[in-house]
């Protein structure tokens, strides 16, 4: 029989499309939770330490811990996003045994980077009081960086596994211990004791998280570092993680070093008390909006999202597929509406009652002005983060990369400009950068939704 037509049969392998990558999408938003808890804990601790330590030591303590957090986020940002993707892929490929080894690998990688960076920064560039002739404070600070990084890595696994209560409980426990032990040790050993206490709290937190993860995943088997191929496979994702976290911190670094009221705390360790307090306080305001958005994404949106892919895979007609897409759009719209309402009201109330609120924190008049501006900035940041999450859901890695790059560049450039001006301008760089990034992200989301069917079928690799 002539002809090769019958050969076609071999080539019609079943093709299905999945939206499992959603598992890694919401991680970005979810990591905001622990972040809020840690800021709160640090502020409470600082407030407690005021009664025990002299002002310069407090400044050393807070500036050091702030830098630790900044470094940890910047170091782990790219690793976190690659690991989250790795975990999501393992889940979709049904290889759960490979997840736990990547946790070990991720922790080791982040720890090495943190130890090197922390060691160099705190031991060489930050002079601190010696303890028995040893630079114990610097060692503790570097160790703290290692543990904070490890904790950020661990939170990837907990959020990908949807263990939100576990995360919140672990963080509350860890920071509770950190605050108590720190406060206790500060009374006997000064700032070094406070740092040791903070370290102990993080150590407990990390051990607790690691145990949770192992109980959830088992020991698994397979190479620990195979996730690192993701750095080459998804350079866009890695850069997105890096740019976003750099973008969050770049204005702070600029203010620490360049603002008129900046304080050289010790060596390379700088602070900008006016700006710092305002921005940390306003970062706390994202809690309600984030909570509402995560709730919407995790429930309604995720369901519509999976319905859409189900419709495609189960042989839906194009009009059924488009209808499913429209349900996604409606759900997203509802999500953003409630985010807008809740976060809008929160921000509005905080702006109006800024005076009364900030009275508790001994905030100066200048800081209240900056606080009002940065409140608005964080409002935009929350919206941006939400849009970024949606882009991850739709696997628009290029879009996510562009937005985070724009955010980084705009925040760096505009903050550098404003920091040269007087205090009245402080915070505007952050606001405009967040707004710009939000605008671009929203445009990308719209474009993506518009052509969702096209992108669904076009995708050849995951």
């Amino acid at each position: 029989m002539a002809g090769i037509g019958f050969q076609l049969r071999r080539l019609t392998a079943t093709r299905t499309y999945t939206g499992v990558l959603g598992a890694y999408a919401s991680a970005a938003a979810i990591s905001a939770g622990p972040w809020i808890i840690s800021i709160t804990a640090l502020m409470v601790l600082t407030w407690l330490l005021h009664q025990i330590l002299p002002a310069d030591q407090i400044r050393l303590f807070t500036a050091s811990s702030t830098h630790v957090y900044a470094f940890a986020l910047i170091i782990t940002g790219p690793i976190q996003i690659i690991l989250t993707r790795f975990v999501a892929d393992r889940i979709s490929l049904k290889q759960p045994e490979k997840i736990y080894p990547s946790f070990k690998g991720g922790v080791v990688l982040a720890s090495i980077l943190s130890a090197v960076l922390g060691g160099i920064f705190f031991l060489r560039y930050v002079p601190a009081p010696l303890t028995d002739g040893l630079p114990l404070f610097g060692i503790l600070a570097a160790a703290l960086l290692v543990y904070v990084s490890a904790i950020f890595i661990a939170s990837v696994y907990l959020s990908a596994l949807r263990k939100y209560y576990g995360i919140v409980f672990a963080f509350a426990l860890g920071y509770g211990i950190a605050v108590l032990v720190s406060w206790r040790l500060a009374q006997t050993h000064g700032v070094t004791g406070a740092m040791a206490g903070l370290l102990i709290g993080h150590l407990v937190l990390f051990i607790f998280l690691a145990l949770c993860i192992r109980r959830e995943l088992g020991r698994g088997k397979g190479p620990s570092f195979s996730f690192m191929r993701g750095f080459f496979k998804f350079p866009d994702l890695m850069l997105c993680g890096l740019f976003y976290n750099l973008g969050i911190w770049i204005d702070k670094f600029l203010f620490w070093w360049l603002s008129k009221s900046n304080v050289q705390v010790s060596g390379a360790l700088h602070a900008a008390p006016d700006y710092d307090l305002a921005i940390y306080l306003s970062l706390l305001s994202i809690a309600p909006g984030m909570a509402v958005f995560i709730l919407q994404v995790e429930t309604d949106f995720a369901e519509k999202f999976h319905d859409y892919f189900d419709t495609v895979n189960r042989g839906g007609t194009l009009s059924q597929v488009s209808a499913a897409k429209n349900r996604i759009i409606l759900s997203l719209r509802a999500g953003f509406n409630s985010l807008l309402k809740v976060q809008g009201i929160t921000t509005a109330l905080l702006v109006i009652y800024a005076n009364e609120l900030t009275a508790w924190f001994h905030v100066s008049f200048v800081q209240i002005g900056i606080f009002r501006i940065t409140l608005f900035g964080t409002f935009l940041l929350v919206m941006f983060l939400a849009m970024l999450t949606v882009l991850f859901y739709f696997n628009d890695r290029r879009g996510a990369l562009i937005c985070s790059l724009v955010f980084l560049l705009a925040n760096g450039l505009l903050s550098a400009v404003t920091v040269m001006q007087n205090e009245a301008w402080y915070g505007f760089g952050f606001v405009v950068a967040a707004g710009l990034a939000l605008f671009i992200a929203a445009t990308r989301v719209n474009a993506r939704l518009d052509e969702l069917e096209y992108h669904t079928f076009r995708v050849q690799e995951a």
Binding site: M1, A2, G3, I4, G5, F6, Q7, L8, R9, R10, L11, T12, R15, Y17, V312, N313, R314, G315, G316, T317, L318, S319, V321, E451, Y454, F457, R458, Q460
Partner: protein, 516 residues
């Protein structure tokens, strides 16, 4: 081999057959090439996927001066710097594509001409890969339009991939066309992709074209598509009894129909092995005026020794009851029905034996199933699997030949059996019924019996009837030999092709006529 730049006299365009696959078409191809040593041949072989281990099944005669291969389902490989997007200059291409998609169902040859322009464009603009084309937004727009027009109630996922698998081989074919050997005449052995390629080449080089169809390609594809489970019969919003085939299957068939029409339209001569196939060709759009019937033929004198040996053997043992099958042990030959038939025959004639001869490597699973079935039917004493044999040594041992195929053209094996004086019991496929009926008008009686496809009872009854009536068997033996010598001799068939080659090329190129 002579220089590749020199045009061959004949270019044979072959799809999944000669020289890599043995079978009726390949036997015929080899016969034609070997018969005309004074003509030069080029081969254009189309396969599905390149198999590095594949070997020629035939020794290519010296007059094959050029062979090119193209694989239509292979992954694309290219060393050219590729574009990431389809450039804007492809707008006319998309316009033609849209027009073709709208007009193709009409089957009007002038509309189908559009396809030539499209494939030409693809052949010339090689910087756009299939993946780039397939993933372009404009392509997506066309896919949606076609979907909305033809199958808006079918699974879009299935439609999308059906389109991909329909277009991809055409794309590959277009890209392979520049490698098509130059020739004074193009001769294809089927419609489908090879038929399209031959039509395109004939048009491009302004050369005549012959189509010889052994089976009916389109009918075989339709059978494939109807029985396949790999095209999902999807849930439709409005199920309807009047449409037994899903839209997707119709789409698939429609595309092969278009290819067939292009080939029929361009072919100067459409050769068919027998009348029934000619009717099918007319049904699928071939111009009756261009259809001519040229059956298969063999050198009957080569079978003469076998004939004598068989006669001598039967004289010694007129009661002998050996039934033989000669062919590849594959599902299309329906060897399982043959085994069931053997069981029924042996129930009535315990001294009957069945010999199953032929290569068994093509579908090893099927062979295993057959052997298991034979054991299950307790046929071990009656049935023997011989593997490949020399036909001329095998035929003398047979009192009767049996053919249980579900699809055939004009099987060479029947001709050989008849020439060797072996009567045949066959299923009613291809030309079998025609041949076995003999030519009563010319005083040649029947030389075998026909039974329904898959009907072991009928087949067994026919076998029993012949095996128990040696006089009838011997009469049929004589009739068969007469029939084969007079109507199915190779020289008749080769003369017909020689005449076609000469007539067609004289019109277009006097050199060949001179050479011939």
């Amino acid at each position: 081999m002579r220089s590749k730049n020199q045009p061959a006299d004949i270019c044979l365009v072959l799809e999944g057959t000669y020289p890599y696959v043995s079978g009726g078409v390949s036997t015929w191809v080899h016969q034609i090439i070997s018969a005309f040593p004074d003509l030069t041949f080029a081969l254009f072989y189309l396969g599905a996927q390149r198999d590095p281990g594949a070997k020629y099944k035939y020794e290519l005669p010296a007059n094959v001066i050029h062979i090119e291969e193209a694989y239509l389902f292979d992954a694309e490989s290219s060393f050219v710097a590729l574009r990431k997007k389809v450039p804007a200059s492809w707008q006319p291409f998309y316009a033609a594509l849209r027009k073709l998609c709208v007009r193709a169902p009409s089957g009007d040859p002038h509309d189908l001409e559009l396809l030539r322009g499209i494939l030409d464009h693809v052949a010339k603009h090689t910087t756009v890969s299939f993946d780039t084309f397939w993933q372009d937004r404009e392509t997506w727009a066309v896919i949606r339009e076609v979907y909305d027009r033809y199958t808006p109630e079918d699974s879009f996922l299935d439609f999308y991939w059906t389109c991909c698998f329909l277009i991809q081989p055409l794309w590959k074919l277009a890209r392979a066309m520049p490698r098509m050997p130059k020739a004074r005449l193009y001769h294809t052995a089927c419609t489908g992709y090879a038929g399209l390629a031959a039509a395109l080449a004939a048009e491009q080089h302004d050369a005549p074209m012959i189509l010889t169809e052994h089976g009916i390609y389109l009918r075989e594809r339709i059978a494939d598509i109807c029985k396949s489970r790999w095209i999902p019969e999807t849930m439709r919003a409005r199920p309807s009894l009047s449409e037994p085939l899903s839209h997707l299957r119709q789409l698939w068939i429609g595309c092969f129909e278009v290819l067939g029409r292009i080939c029929y339209h361009r072919a100067n001569v459409i050769a068919s092995l027998f009348e029934k196939n000619a009717d099918a060709q007319k049904h699928f759009g071939a111009d009756p005026a261009r259809i001519t019937i040229i059956p298969n033929g063999i050198r009957t004198e080569d079978c003469a020794p076998a004939l004598q040996q068989r006669a001598a053997r039967r004289e010694r043992n007129p009661e002998s009851k050996v039934v033989g099958f000669l062919g590849r042990v594959v599902s299309i030959k329906d060897v399982k029905t043959l085994l069931h038939t053997a069981r029924k025959v042996c129930d009535r004639l315990p001294d009957a034996r069945f010999l199953i001869a032929g290569p068994a490597e093509e579908e090893p699973e099927y062979v295993d199933e057959c052997i298991a079935l034979s054991a299950q039917l307790e046929l071990n004493r009656h049935v023997e699997f011989l593997g490949p044999v020399n036909a001329m040594k095998f035929l003398p041992d047979l009192d009767l030949m049996i053919l249980t195929s579900v699809s055939e053209g004009l099987p060479f094996v029947i001709l050989e059996a008849l020439a060797a004086g072996v009567p045949v019991v066959s299923t009613d496929v291809g030309a079998c019924a025609d041949i076995l009926a003999g030519r009563p008008a010319e005083n040649i009686p029947a030389c075998g019996l026909i039974a329904e496809i898959g009907n072991a009872d009928a087949l067994a009854a026919a076998c029993v009837r012949l095996l128990t009536d040696p006089a009838l068997l011997d009469a049929m033996s004589l009739a068969g030999r007469d029939l084969a010598t007079r109507y199915y001799h190779e020289k008749t068939i080769l003369a017909a092709y020689r005449a076609l080659y000469e007539n067609l090329t004289t019109q277009s190129s006097p050199q060949l006529a001179a050479a011939a």
